[in-house]
Every structure is written in C-alpha cells, then in structure tokens.
Amino acid sequence: MANAPIADLSYRGYDGPLESPTQRWWVIAKTNVRRTFKNKWYWVATITSGWYYLLMMIIVYFVELAAESNPRQQGPFALATFMKRVIWVDQFVHGLSWAQIMIFVVTLIAGAGVIANDNRANALLVYLSRPCSKFDYVIGKFIGVFLPILLTVALPSLVYFLYGALSYRAYGFLSNDPWMIVKILLVCPLIAAFYSALIIGVSSLFNQGRMAGAAFAGLYFLTNFFTQMMVIAWQASTRVSRGVFRAEEGNPLAAKLYYASVDGTMIGTTKAIMNTDGSPYFGLPSPVAMIPAPPLVPMLLISGIVTFLSLWLAWSRIRAVEVVK
C-alpha cells in the first residue's frame, strides 16, 4: 500500500466526444499561430515594422507644434505647405514598402521551420495517421503562417489609419482617397498570402528550418540586390531638370525590372492597388522622382502565380512514405 502511486496509472478507454474529421487544418493553424505568438522576436519585428508610420506621426506632430508656436511661419516646413505636399495614400505605400524587411523577418520566424522541421522529425506520420489529409496539412500550415504575417502587415497600417482618421481629417486624410481603407484591407492579406506561400514552398524543400531560412533569405536578398541595381539604373536614366528627376523620362525596362524581386513584387502590387506612383517620403521635399506603379492586372497575376506555385510545391513534396521508383 505504501508503494502504491497516488496517480491512477491504469488505462481507460476514451468515450468522450470526437469532432467530425473535417477542418483539421484549423487545429494545425492554431498551433502554429500560438507558437509564433510565443516568440518575443515576432512581436519586436511586428512593432518595428510600423517605424515609418511612427516617424511620420512624429514629424507631423513637430510641424504642428511649430505652427502653434509661430502661426505666420514660411518655408517648406510651414504647416500649410507641408500638408499640401503630403499625399496620405502614398504614406501607406511607403509604410508597407519599408515594412517589407520586417515582414521578411516575421516570415522567417513564423514559417522557415514550419514544414522543414516536420520533415526532420517525421512529423508527417503523426499528422497523416490522423484524420488529416494533405490538404488539411498544407492549408493548416499556410494559415498558421499567414495569420501572424497578416497581423504584422496590417496592425501598423490600421493603427495609423485610425490615428490619421482621428487626427488628420482636417488635412484631407479621409477625403484624399475615400477608398483608402478598402485598398489597405485588400493589400495586407495579399502581402501576407504571398510571403506565407513562398516560405511554405521553400520550407517543404528542406529537412531543417535553418536551411530553409537561409534559402529564403538568399532568395530575398539576391532578388533585392537586383532590385537595387534597377533603382540605380532607373535613376541614372532620368534626366535632371532644374534639380528634379523627371519620372516620365526614366528607362521603362529598369522601372519594370525594379519589381522583379520578393519585396519588389509586393511593393509593385501595393502601388498598383493603391493606384499611385508614390511621392517623396514623409512629405519632405525631394528631387528624386518615384518609380512609376506597374499595371495592376499583371502584378496580381504574378503574385497569384507565385503564391499558387509555392503552395503546389509544398503539396507535391508532402508524402507519408518515401516512394522509391
């Protein structure tokens, strides 16, 4: 009796409820989301991704402060002059463009090991021996990466929109483009889906999260380097006229190839959906013209094809048994 364990160690059958064997993907997605949310670096990257908006708020705050202390001020930083230069929809294009590097970091955190680590640990045997199909697995993993990235993309933009709607209405924040919020709500899931699919596809090719992360980083930075070369080529091809680069005279091929990268595709899609070429950062005076927005339909097609192909790659790589032919 003295050696009897306190816990009941005997086996008992389970007679409790079992949910229908559909929508198992949600269990997989939920677990991935929970795991990403537990990572403090995810939150650091998410908050940091809104740095452009934060800086914009600070600049506007100081311009307003200066105007209060000196209502008759003149020059480029005079409130009226400054606010005339600010195109609100462009601030979201810039905010989302500058957030790309942090979205890339979050993509690595949320998705690099998502399938690669499962490959290493033979976890597919656990998943597929349950009422989970390949569809459940791929979609579950995709949604599990998509939701944290969506939060990173959308949270700063939505917070800034709310702040702008409350604070800058007098400066045309809402009247500049009444469809701005709809466009933001359309762009954010597109960016999140693109990055999620891409990392899922890359992750499925490896047996280690680190290797998948390195491959994705390689893809991102190599294409980004190409994009930066195109920026230089395009700016070199624009002619300076009274100190201002004129966009319409730039090399059109360089302008198109600028978008041929991971982040470039998303920046291009954002510009195309927002229907703007962009304007100088923070509404500050700048001689540099922005690279024109690409056409909407081809950008949507390219993003869609890359997303679909990445998911298909993951789908085709998932097997419960190694088939030797």
């Binding site: 816990a7 009941d8 160690l9 005997s10 086996y11 008992r12 059958g13 389970y14 007679d15 409790g16 409820p17 079992l18 949910e19 229908s20 064997p21 559909t22 198992r24 269990v27 997989i28 677990t31 795991r35 090991g113 680590n117 499962d118 290493r120 640990a121 033979n122 976890a123 597919l124 045997l125 656990v126 998943y127 597929l128 021996s129 349950r130 009422p131 989970c132 199909s133 419960a320 048994v321 088939v323 030797v324 032919k325």
Partner: protein, 306 residues
Amino acid sequence: MPVADIRGLTVRYGSFTALDNFSAVIPEGCVGLLGPNGAGKTTLIKTLLGFVTPASGSGIVMGLDAFRDGPKLRQRIGFMPEQDCHIPGMTAVGFVAYAGELAGMPSAQALRRAHEVLEYCGLGEARYRNVETYSTGMKQKIKLAQALVHGPRLLLLDEPTNGLDPRGREEMLKLIRSISHGKDVNVLVSSHLLPDIERTCDQILLVYQGRLREQGMIEDLKRLAGLPVDVQLREVSDAFLREVTIRGMTFLGMVGSTTYRLQAPVTLEESAARVFDAARSAEAQIRGFEKAERTLEEAFLEAVHG
C-alpha cells in the same frame, strides 16, 4: 466481427511489388504481423492507413472501407510508426494533446487525456520535457502514447521494440500485452522478432514476399501433426523405449539429452497412460511429460521455405 477483411490487395512501388494479391481476415485481439524485413508488413499497415494507394484490392477495417472512408477510419485507429516521429519543439504533454486534437478531441479533453496516457506509458515524470531530449526508449513510449490518446479501437504498432535495450524492450512488451488484453483495444503488432510476437500476441499472420503464408493462433501454429508427446526421463533408458514401442507408440527422436519424442494415433490422455505404463514396466523415472510443440521459429521457417 473481424477487425479487418483484406482481399486481393496489390501494392507496387514502381516495378517492385510490395504486396502481391494479399488477402487476410484479421480477427479481434492481439494479432502479430510476422515476417522478415521487406516482407510487406509496413506496406500493409500504411496501405490500411491510406498512405499508399493500392494497385488493386479492397479492405474493410473496423467496418469501414479503408480506401474510401480514410479520415473516419483514421479517427478510430492509433498508429505507432517504426521511425522516430514527433512534433518538433513540443513538450511530451503538448505533443500528445496535439495528437489528440488532430484526431478530433476537444482541446480540454485532449490535454486531460494526454496526462492520463503519459502516466500509463510510464512518462508521467518526464511529461513537461521537450520530446527532442528524450532517450530512444522514451521516444518509443511517447509514440505509443500519441497513438493511444484518442482511445482508438485498433492500434497498429510497427516494430514497437526497435532500438530498445533489454529493459526498455521488456517495458514496451508489458505495455503492449497490457493494452491488448481486457481493454477493448485490438492490436496489430508488426515485427520481425519472433519472441516479441510470441510474448504479446495470441494470433499471427505470417507474411513473406508480399503474400500471406500462414495465419492462426500461435498455439495452433506450433502444434505438431499427430499429437506427439515429449517425455523426459531421469536418464536414458533403452528398456523404456522397448516398452513404449510394444504399446504401439512410435519413437520420433530425441529432443534433449534425456527427452524422447513419441507419437501414437490416440488421444493425449491415452498416450499419457501408455507412457506411464511403459515407464513402470521399464522401471524408468519420468521427470516431465508434455504435448510436443515446435518453436515459432520452426513454424515460421516451415511456412516461409516449405
């Protein structure tokens, strides 16, 4: 009602035929799937789970069509794979609860049940450790725990004692024996290790080169035709041999230094009466008397090589 009824199952990997027109009725209880490496045991299990699409054949498992009702069927089956497998970065309790949720258990129930099965499998003390830090023996146990968490009625165990030391093997065999007897769980144990099958199972399916070679109760398979008996004497006695021959018994040979294998076309009781009568007449001392059996290994080799 049989656990599974498989008919004409053929599975090919390219040009290699892993299962060749395989047919079997798997009864309830603890059944051993016995065969050498590459016999097709794992392929059979993976085909029943829907991992592999067969070229032809049909399979009814737990009353469900194995190839059409896959998700429903997998909800009633627990699978312990041969390879190490776990969800990376999870504690044991998290992993087992997650496996339960994947099978359709509500999360609170899955967590409660995860604690229960981990205790049952002897991992209660280590349940909050990351599975990646587990020893091989513990990893085998957690594979069993994840297979049990949703209370399956059929448990498929693929080489459950792989890589275990003698103590770990002993513990695993005890667990399998315990779960498969009196718990309303049917167990199909795939192994190439005859002693493991003999210790845990009541019946076996002998698989070789993708075909079913033999099936039945282990006792029946070990039984020799004609009810021979093994008689162990204190010492070798020619007089005893003469006396049994006079009483119509045939001497089949020695199976030990002082053990005679004898056979007569009569019942076991009648054989015993003749043996004791002969021993009395020959003044030989009997140390043992038992029904003669072949080993499972002999039965296996005969089934495989004819």
